[in-house]
Structures are given as C-alpha cells and as structure tokens.
C-alpha cells in the first residue's frame, strides 16, 4: 500500500549548506500492518513522517526518492491533489495534543470543521457522525462543549484520534502519541489504537522512542540512527536477538522491575552527533566494537538472518559465532 523508495530529506542551514537528515530510507507497508519506527530524539523519525504528509518546514525538503501511495507517487502531485489525500487517505496524530488543538474553539467545533471542509454532509448528519466517533474513541458526549484546556491529557489524545479517524483513512501515522502521558493512560491509548485498527482495517506507522511500547503494538520494527536505517526485523526477532550494537545497547539500558540493585546500568557511551557530513558508519564514535573499516565505509543493510536486516560490519562478521542471546 505504502512504499517509500530511497527517500532522502535534507536541511538547509543558516549558511546555505545542505546536508541530509534522513538518508536513503526505503520500506514497504501493507494493509492492516503495523510498523514501528524507533530512534533517539533528533534521528529524523518525525521528519520522514512529515515528508509523507507533505508538512515539511520551509528549510527542509525531499531531495531524492519516491513515496508511492497505492501506486501513485505523492511527491509529484500538485498541492490540490495532495490535499485530497491528506486526511482522507493518510491521517496524522501529532505528538503534543495540547499544542495541536486550537485553544479558543470547543471540541465540537474542531470535529465539525473537518466535516465542513471535506464532505457535503449537512450539520445534522455531521453531528450524528461525531457522536458515533466519540463512542468509538470511548469519550463521553458532554465533552463536546468543553475547550481543550478543560480536559485531561488522555482525553485530548482521544480527541486527536477522533479527528484523525473522522474521514476513515487507510493509513494512520501516530507520532509519539503517548509520550506526554503516564503509564496507565499510555496502556489505554495503545489498546484503543489496536482496537480501532481492527475495525477500520488501516495500516499504522507508530513513531516512538520507547522500545517496550513498540514491541507491544508493532508487527515490524525498524531502528533509525542519525537518519539511516540500521536494523529491521519482525518485533519478536528484534527483541530475542538484536544484532546491531546500538539496538543491543538500547535494550540493555531499559530499566525493568527485575533490574538488580546496586549494579551500574548498561550505558551507551557519548551523544548523538549534531549535523554535518561524515564518512563511514554513523554509530562508529559511540560503538565499542568499531574498527578501521567502520571509519571508511558506510555499512550496507544486509539480510543477516531470515527477514532480519542489519547494517553493521561487526554483526556480519560475528553472526555465526554468537550464542542465543547475542553480544
């Protein structure tokens, strides 16, 4: 249904220099599938979603590649044609619900606006539809007359979901929909997304930095680091046997209730770099396994195990020697 081919998104900085923030990204998504994109902040996961929606900021643009949605390249469409697809076919749930909703109009007006702008329904018909929508996202009817600041964070996220689902989209992009919420509400929202996905039969792209959330919701996960895809696998395979040192480090540094006390946590050395061009593997400076090859060449994404892709020279050279639990 959705196919992204060699997508490169570049930023132009103040001095006029252009450098890429998403590099050569390709993936496929089929109907009813859930894909999770995992990565640290600043690795380009939001920007590639914005490229699909056509909402990139003015100094950032797609410099190479195609985005095929149901066979059509949506990057080549005019603004008017693109508008038809956005919302009706592809919908986005934004990261921060409080800033995404308009503070001076009520929830009812938010939802009515969608139907007025996009459909020919009369206001009575639209109101009936809105009531149905509210039932689906499990919100009470009396919420319609309140303003965004009067409702709780979880309720706001539900309103965002209702807005996204209003026109029955085929693809839902959820950009960190649960980061601002506490544990219990997170679980509720996740379950709600799962339920809605079944009823609407849509594909979901779930963007998050929380690996445990990704495991719960996704069929397929890929890990982005500095704009490049470094590992891709079905969520079970990725959890049982992470191949890339970065993914392994991410799993190790999660604190669970079984983490033994007193022993220092596993940490990935250093920080994600800011901007600029470089040679070789993007993770080389923080990687304990890096060698001279890593500084010269960018490791290609290769299928090291069945349906398990990884871009790392070290993982490739040692894959036969390692035991069950990895590194």
């Amino acid at each position: 249904m959705l196919e992204v081919k060699h997508l490169t998104v570049s930023i132009r900085n103040k001095n006029g220099k252009i450098y890429p923030i998403v590099k050569n990204l390709s993936y496929k998504l089929q109907e009813g599938q859930t894909l999770a994109i995992v990565g640290e902040s600043g690795c380009g996961k939001t920007m590639q979603a914005m490229a699909i929606m056509g909402l990139l900021p003015p100094n950032i643009s797609v410099t190479r590649g195609q985005i095929l949605f149901q066979g059509k390249d949506i990057l080549k469409l005019s603004k008017k044609e693109r508008r038809e697809i956005n919302g009706k076919e592809i919908a986005l749930v934004f990261q921060d619900a409080l800033t995404a909703l308009n503070p001076v109009i009520t929830i009812l007006q938010h939802l009515l606006e969608v139907f007025k702008a996009r459909t020919n329904l009369t206001s009575d018909e639209a109101e009936n539809k809105i009531k149905e929508l509210l039932q689906q996202v499990e919100l009470p009817q009396n919420i319609l007359s309140s303003y965004p600041h009067q409702i709780s964070g979880g309720q706001r996220q539900r309103v965002m979901l209702a807005l996204a689902l209003a026109l029955n989209p085929k693809l839902l992009i959820a950009d960190e929909p649960t980061t601002a919420l506490d544990e219990k509400t997170q679980e509720q929202i996740l379950n709600l997304i799962k339920k809605l996905q079944k009823t609407y039969k849509m594909a979901v792209i779930f963007i998050t930095h929380d690996l445990i959330l990704a495991k719960e919701i996704a069929d397929k996960i890929f890990v982005l680091y500095y704009g490049t895809k470094i590992e891709e696998a079905a969520s079970k395979d990725l959890f049982s046997n992470p191949l890339h040192p970065y993914t392994y480090g991410l799993f190790k540094s999660i604190i669970t209730r079984d983490t033994p006390k007193g022993i220092p946590l596993f940490e990935i050395y250093g920080y994600i770099k800011k901007g600029g061009r470089f040679y070789g593997c993007p993770f080389k400076d923080r990687c304990k396994k890096s060698s001279r090859v890593c500084y010269k060449f960018l490791p290609p994404l290769e299928e090291l195990k069945p349906k398990h892709f990884c871009a790392c020279f070290w993982a490739k050279s040692t894959q036969f020697q390692r035991g069950k639990n990895g590194i």
């Binding site: 640290e40 902040s41 600043g42 930095h209 929380d210 540094s253 983490t259 990935i268 920080y271």
Partner: protein, 237 residues
C-alpha cells in the same frame, strides 16, 4: 554505623483555601506527613499527579509555609530561624529539576550558571573549582564559555547535576530528572547520580512516575495518596 539525620518532617498539614462565590472551599493537601531521611540514603516519593508531592517539596525548600508541624533540616527547625540563617541552611540542599531545557537560563554562559550558587551564598571560588565540577560530570573546560542551547538534553541535565552538587550539599532533591530524556541517556544520568552519591554521601529525595526506576535506585519508597504518606516495599510495586 550511626547515620546523621538530614531531613525530618513531623506531622505536616497543609490546606489551600479557594474563595468561590458566597462559599469558602477548603481542600486538604497534606494530612499529617511524617518523614525521616538519613545521610547516604535514598528515598523515592511516588504518587498520582495532584496528590501533594510538589507541595511537600515546596515546604521543604521553604517556598511555602505549612499550617502546622515542623520541618527540620540538619537538626534545625526552619520556621524558627532568621532569613539569613535559612539561606545558610538551604545552601545544603541541591535541586535537580525535571525539564533540563527550561531549568537553565538561556542568556547565561555555563560559567555564570555554575558560579551563581557561590555568588548568592557569598562563598569565594576560583575557576578551577568550576572546571573540576564540570569534569566530574564528564564535560570539559571548553564548555564553560558555551550557552545552554549548544548542548543536547542529556548534557544539559549533566550541567544541572553539576550545579546542584557544586556546594557539596547534604541533601539532593531530584524531581523526575530523567522523564524528558531518551532511554539510552536515562541510563547515563542514573549511573551518574549513583556514582556521585557514593562519592559525596548525600541523601537523595527522588520523585518519579517511573516505578521500575524507583525500585532500582531507592532503599525506601513512600507512596503519597490523598495527602497521606505510607511506606511500601519494592516488591509491592
């Protein structure tokens, strides 16, 4: 080995009065809170939002006055001393805030940020002490001339920790220090805090939503629920 008591709260009560039309509404936030924290120990405060955690912290820091009860810091009751003495005692408390992005003044360099505790408390300092504090949190001396926006979230939290520790306080209050950070950076910051605690032996009052993190880091866990504090063991989480 006998420990010194750093912080002692006795039967603290606090209620807010809300004046609505024709009617006074009184909401009790804290209903008699008792707490003892000793040197080198770690205590976690957990609870749903709006349960009174923040009010308790404000009372400890002297930003708000309790209705009844006493707060003793290093054995002295802070409601019965002069302002100058209060400031002296408060210099023994360091605070690490939740949001590393808004806790640092964007118009000050790191040198100014780190020297501010010395200037406020009128303690002499040299540039070497600032460099030493930065090196402890694995930043280097060239960072002294930079501004906060030039650092990533994890590095800013390190600067926050350096500032909280610079006067070698006896008590550190950490208000959700890792909730705004990524998973990999969270591990770095938690390790840094435990390393510093071993070195300086301060008491740590840790406020967090992340139950797994509290269980990992703290010896005692206190649940705040509707203004009442109850101690629970880690296995109950």
């Amino acid at each position: 080995m006998a420990y010194n008591t750093v912080l002692e709260l006795k039967d603290i009560k606090k209620s807010y009065v809300k004046n609505s039309f024709l009617k006074k509404q009184i909401t009790e936030v804290l209903k008699g809170a008792n707490l003892i924290l000793q040197e080198g120990h770690t205590l976690a405060l957990i609870g749903p939002s709006g349960c009174g955690k923040t009010t308790l912290l404000k009372i400890i820091l002297g930003l708000e006055k309790q209705d009844s009860g006493t707060v003793k810091i290093l054995g002295r009751d802070i409601s019965q001393i002069t302002k100058r003495e209060l400031r002296e005692i408060l210099s023994n408390i360091g605070v690490i805030f939740q949001d590393p992005y808004s806790a640092l003044d964007p118009r000050q360099t790191i040198e100014q940020i780190l020297s501010e505790p010395f200037i406020i408390n009128k303690i002499p300092y040299t540039k070497q002490t600032l460099i030493k504090a930065l090196k402890e949190v694995s930043l280097n001396e060239f960072d002294l001339k930079k501004y906060p926006h030039q650092f990533s979230g994890g590095q800013r939290q390190r600067i926050n920790i350096a500032r909280a520790l610079i006067l070698k306080p006896k008590l550190i209050i950490a208000d959700e220090p890792t909730s705004a950070l990524d998973v990999s950076v969270q591990a770095q910051i938690v390790n840094l805090i435990t390393k510093m605690q071993k070195k300086y032996n301060f008491a740590l009052l840790f406020v967090s939503h992340n139950l797994a993190l509290c269980k990992y880091l703290c010896q005692n866990i206190v649940l705040v629920k509707q203004g009442i504090l109850t101690e629970i063991s880690g296995d109950e989480l």
